[in-house]
């Protein structure tokens, strides 16, 4: 019979907290990066220039249809060989995760924008707004409100995806967990603690998303 001993967790608490800090900082960075890439890619998708649409679609499909683990390894090990671009593990991880997230954000943002009644752009145009002003003042504010639950969902996935950066030895929560497991010979307790860490942060967030969905659903 296996004897659980969670006291080791307390012993390594600072490592865990450091890892959690890295994970949270990483998530914030790749959400900002991802939403930025997503905004750019979705405006290219909706552009009237064919070339921009093709490039954006290629970007989105490449990152959406390949595993994030492969992208991480590829960004760190293959880019230096192919393109001569040397990156630290942190930069490579940030880039790969932002692109991966960006491809999903792009589809969410594009969907939100095209879901707005074309009558809204028509009314804005009839009042003398340029397409850019109409997008900023009339379309995006309505579209963003509709996108919030989907964007939050994707961001929750992004939070968990950061766990993969441990393969590039970025000291996130999972990586620190591995270290603790090796050191303490208590992998079961360690990984349980890691899972609890993720859950404790994400569960309240999912509750909030569900609440938001209900509120915006009731409004329509």
């Amino acid at each position: 019979m296996y004897e659980w001993d969670f006291s080791v967790i307390y012993q390594y608490r600072w490592l865990f907290l450091q890892g959690l800090g890295v994970t949270i900082a990483f998530t914030i960075a790749i959400i900002i990066g991802g939403v930025t890439f997503g905004l750019v890619a979705s405006s290219c998708l909706l552009s009237r220039f064919r070339l921009l649409r093709v490039v954006a679609l290629a970007f989105i499909e490449v990152f959406r249809c390949t595993p994030i683990l492969v992208q991480l390894v590829w960004a760190y090990y293959a880019l230096p060989i192919l393109a001569g671009v040397e990156m630290t593990p942190v930069t490579a991880s940030l880039l790969a995760l932002s692109c991966y997230g960006g491809s999903f954000y792009a589809e969410i943002i594009r969907g939100g924008i095209v879901s707005i009644d074309p009558g809204q752009s028509e009314a804005a145009a009839a009042l003398g707004m340029t397409p850019g002003l109409a997008m900023r003042r009339i379309i995006l504010p309505q579209a963003l409100r509709r996108m919030v639950p989907a964007l939050m969902n994707q961001s929750i996935l992004q939070f968990k995806n950061t766990s993969l950066v441990s393969v590039l030895a970025v000291p996130d929560l999972v990586y620190q967990g591995q270290m603790v497991a090796h050191d303490s010979f208590r992998p079961l307790e360690t990984y349980t603690a890691v899972a609890v860490g993720y859950f404790a942060i994400l569960f309240p967030l999912t509750l909030y998303v569900r609440h938001r969905e209900r509120v915006s659903g009731a409004k329509r």
């Binding site: 009558g119 009314a123 009839a126 009042l127 003398g128 707004m129 340029t130 002003l133 309505q142 409100r145």
Partner: protein, 259 residues
């Protein structure tokens, strides 16, 4: 009546969607302060013609002049830039069948939006302007409400106030009462009638034949992309000359003589 140039002048206008020719060489003039009703069966091109007047639809060929601004269209000519289009449209008002109010803004914000962000009026001046227009349509007391709390007729009156707040030279109405419950049509028509008697130049696409007869000074009957008949409102409706106009209006006349 103004004897100088007409406010709106449309010359040899053509528009096609693919193989479908929607407007076939349209000529139309509207005097300053004139009220013209466009009537005709659906698919006759009347809505497209209306949308050409403020270039929401850009014609393939022909020329349009509204006030002092003139555009020519043709294969050899560059279509106008979006900045130019926006400037031009800011001086024409349009009211849509489905109101198209901005649902994320209050009634007052809807009316203030274009004066503040297109004409760049100071907020206080725009607010005064918006309140004046809301008073004109009888909805000043609804300024703080959101559009979703209004009835259809009230929404359409806000849409009219929103267009008026830009102080347009002409007002275009695209079936402004078609989406309304019958009991709400009256208040919108009344607002439009008041606007007409204030001297606004108006082009009205409508199915309200009685309204066209009483408020418009001219009625233009369209079918299959052509102007079939164009004359004084009462004359066109009471004594249509062409067979197409007669058969289109026969339903209206029958319903009326039944009363």
């Amino acid at each position: 009546m103004n004897t100088s140039l007409p406010m709106i002048e449309i010359t040899a206008l053509r528009k096609s969607y693919g193989d479908l020719e929607v407007l076939k060489e349209i000529n139309l003039k509207v005097e300053t302060g004139g009220v013209v009703s466009l009537i005709g069966p659906s698919g006759s091109g009347k809505s497209t013609l209306l949308r050409c007047i403020n270039l929401l639809v850009v014609p393939d060929d022909g020329a349009i002049r509204v006030g002092k601004t003139a555009f020519s269209f043709g294969q050899a000519l560059q279509p106008p830039r979006s900045r130019t289009l926006a400037d031009f449209r800011s001086r024409t008002g349009m009211v849509f069948q489905n109101f198209n109010l901005f649902p994320h803004m209050s009634v007052l914000e809807n009316v203030m939006e274009a004066p503040v962000h297109v004409r760049r009026l100071p907020k206080a001046a725009a607010r005064d302007m918006a309140m004046t227009q809301l008073e004109k349509v009888g909805l000043a007391d609804r300024a703080a409400q959101m559009p979703e709390t209004l009835s259809g007729g009230q929404k359409q009156r806000v849409a009219i106030a929103r267009a008026l707040a830009m102080e347009p030279e002409v007002m275009l109405f695209d079936e402004a009462t078609s989406a309304l419950d019958p009991e709400l049509v009256g208040e919108v028509l009344q607002t439009m009638q008041k606007l007409a008697s204030d001297g606004m130049t108006m082009v009205i696409v409508t199915h309200e034949i009685a309204f066209a007869r009483d408020v418009a000074d001219r009625v233009v009957f369209m079918r299959d992309g052509y102007v079939v008949e164009d004359g004084p409102a009462r004359e066109v409706i009471e004594n249509p000359k062409s067979e197409a106009t007669q058969s289109f209006l026969s339903h209206y006349h029958k319903a009326r003589s039944a009363h």
